[in-house]
């Protein structure tokens, strides 16, 4: 228990779903109060608040949350980083602790998307211009979506999947198996937005959204929040035995953005920044992929999860297809991946996601994940990626017993 380490001592998430009767701050407050209570502290103990939210990013939700749960004058950081927004909030709280500016931090991620339909799936209608005139950085005369390919999220992750398929010979069935697994896992998670199992045939024959991803291979939109309470190692030593016993160490915390690649200029490269982050995280933690007992990775689309097996080094290079075929990422497999149901079933309220996966892995490392518990889990990894582009990888370890 080094003084320089940072630990999670409280974690909570709301159920993910659609909550028309709750506002954004109700969700954030529920998660925040849950995490504080889990950590056996109050807002009066918190030295820094970081809040992540995408769709209402400039509503200063951190301060709105304070007004509902405790105004103590502490610094508040409102952050946004697409689907890595929640993880970014956690990172800011960690930075404040590591910098010695606070010893307890609260990071909250929240999103209220309602019934937006699929992420990025809707091309907004636009008034047709009467007279063509070039504008913007590409000198466009009309909106290029659908004319010069697609830039929507389903399209980007579909193409990223097919790039892998061309290189390594995986098939639509391999991608569909990812969705089959995650939907099956979700049945055990009471917090998941959907808890319905699908057969491989049902998935393959469902409505095609963006080939090779059918509807059950795309994450839903939804509402939800998650929160974690973070402390310095020095502070942890002063806390009660029960808090120390349940504390989870952050062995690695890495955030990256897209380094320059040639293809990245026309479509976000979801691989390189994940590989960078994963490699640095393994180095920081001093462990390798084989040491992982549980992984929550960013399966916004089924194609994405398959790529990330490879990017996170869970499988041999190019071997993601064999990896899913072998059953390795199932909850009874060698490296259980997305036992929460993943974004595909648990849901993906953007700002909440990066903290929700910290909550999930924390629950397993504490042995408190209920029916979906991975028995004896001691080390876990979380991964999120937001376009364009931010990636965060955290490696968590259970307290020594």
């Amino acid at each position: 228990m080094s003084s320089e380490d940072i630990w999670i001592i409280g974690a909570a998430m709301t159920p993910f779903g659609r909550f028309a009767d709750k506002d954004l701050i109700d969700l954030a407050a529920e998660a925040a109060l849950g995490a504080l209570s889990d950590a056996q502290i109050s807002m009066g103990d918190v030295g820094v608040l970081a809040l992540g939210n995408v769709y209402e990013a400039n509503s200063h939700n951190g301060q709105r949350l304070q007004k509902q749960i405790g105004q103590t004058g502490i610094p508040v950081f409102n952050v946004v980083n697409a689907c890595a927004t929640g993880a970014t909030a956690a990172r800011v709280a960690m930075l404040s602790i590591a910098a010695g500016e606070s010893d307890i931090g609260l990071a909250v991620g929240v999103e209220k998307m309602g019934k937006m339909g699929m992420i990025g799936g809707a091309a907004r209608p636009r008034e047709e211009k009467k007279v063509y005139a070039a504008s913007g950085r590409y000198g466009s005369v009309i909106r290029p979506e659908g004319i010069l390919g697609t830039g929507t999220m389903p399209g980007v992750f579909a193409q990223a999947g097919m790039e892998y398929a061309f290189r390594h010979g995986v098939t639509p069935t391999h991608f569909a198996k990812v969705a089959q697994k995650n939907h099956a896992h979700s049945v055990l998670n009471p917090l998941a937005q959907y808890r319905k199992e699908f057969s491989l045939d049902e998935i393959l024959n469902a409505e095609m959204i963006s080939y090779p991803n059918t509807l059950p291979m795309c994450c839903p939109t939804g509402d939800g929040a998650a929160a974690v309470v973070l402390v310095s190692g020095a502070k942890l030593k002063t806390l009660g035995l029960d808090v120390r016993r349940r504390a989870v160490k952050i062995s690695a915390a890495v955030m990256t953005s897209d380094p320059w690649t040639e293809t990245d200029q026309v479509q976000p490269d979801v691989n390189t920044l994940t590989r960078l982050a994963a490699d640095r995280a393994y180095e920081q933690a001093g462990i390798g992929p084989d040491d992982l007992d549980v992984v929550e990775l960013h399966d916004c689309f089924a194609t994405a999860e398959l790529l990330h097996y490879d990017n996170l080094r869970l499988c041999d290079p190019g071997g993601a297809g064999e990896f899913i075929d072998s059953g390795a990422p199932w909850r009874d497999g060698r490296i259980p991946v997305n036992v929460s149901g993943g974004l595909l079933s648990k849901g993906h309220p953007l700002g909440a996601t990066g903290i929700a996966n910290l909550f999930e892995v924390t629950a397993h490392l504490r042995g408190e994940a209920g029916q979906r518990q991975i028995e004896g889990a001691r080390v876990g990894l979380t991964h999120v990626i937001g376009l364009a582009s931010a990636c965060a990888v955290h490696i968590l370890e259970a307290a020594p017993r």
Binding site: V131, Y138, S140, T150, E207, Q265
Partner: protein
């Protein structure tokens, strides 16, 4: 095999009956031999299609223009559904350098698109404004096929 998704082939040349044409993006150069033109970093050679403040690869700030090849290989693709007019999007590695995103034309099913299939640039009218000016887009068809 120009299907309904592709629009009409473009008539090039100086005929007075030819309507005024404008490329949908400024990196598409029209004329007798329509082609793509990229901004190329003078320092490291990186290629970009957009107006630049500096080079994202080497941070230099001087650019020249570079004509890209009209042929290449499909690196990735998807058939996009749940939109009014479904289409095929692809990322194409151009011969001699450069990567571009555009629609694939003349491919009917995903199985049609062989890994790294060779394709060639084609242009088509994608719309007409109230002055009668035609917007010209580009896409890629199987290499060897005529538009």
């Amino acid at each position: 095999m120009a299907g309904p998704m592709e629009g009409l082939p473009v008539q090039h040349g100086g005929s007075t009956s030819t309507p005024r044409q404008i490329p949908v993006v400024d990196y598409l150069v029209l004329g007798d031999e329509p082609h793509l033109s990229a901004r190329q970093c003078r320092s490291c050679g990186a290629l970009y299609f957009d107006r630049r403040n500096a080079c994202a690869k080497c941070f230099a700030a001087e650019f020249t223009s570079s004509r890209l090849a009209n042929t290449g290989r499909v690196r990735a693709f998807t058939f996009v559904h749940r939109v009014k007019r479904p289409f095929v999007s692809a990322i194409v590695d151009l011969d001699g350098g450069g990567v571009v995103k555009a629609n694939l034309l003349g491919f009917e099913t995903p199985e049609d698109v062989a890994p790294h299939v060779r394709v060639a640039l084609t242009t088509f009218v994608v719309g007409t404004d109230d002055d009668g000016t035609e917007a010209i887009a580009f896409g890629y068809k199987r290499l060897g096929k005529t538009a």
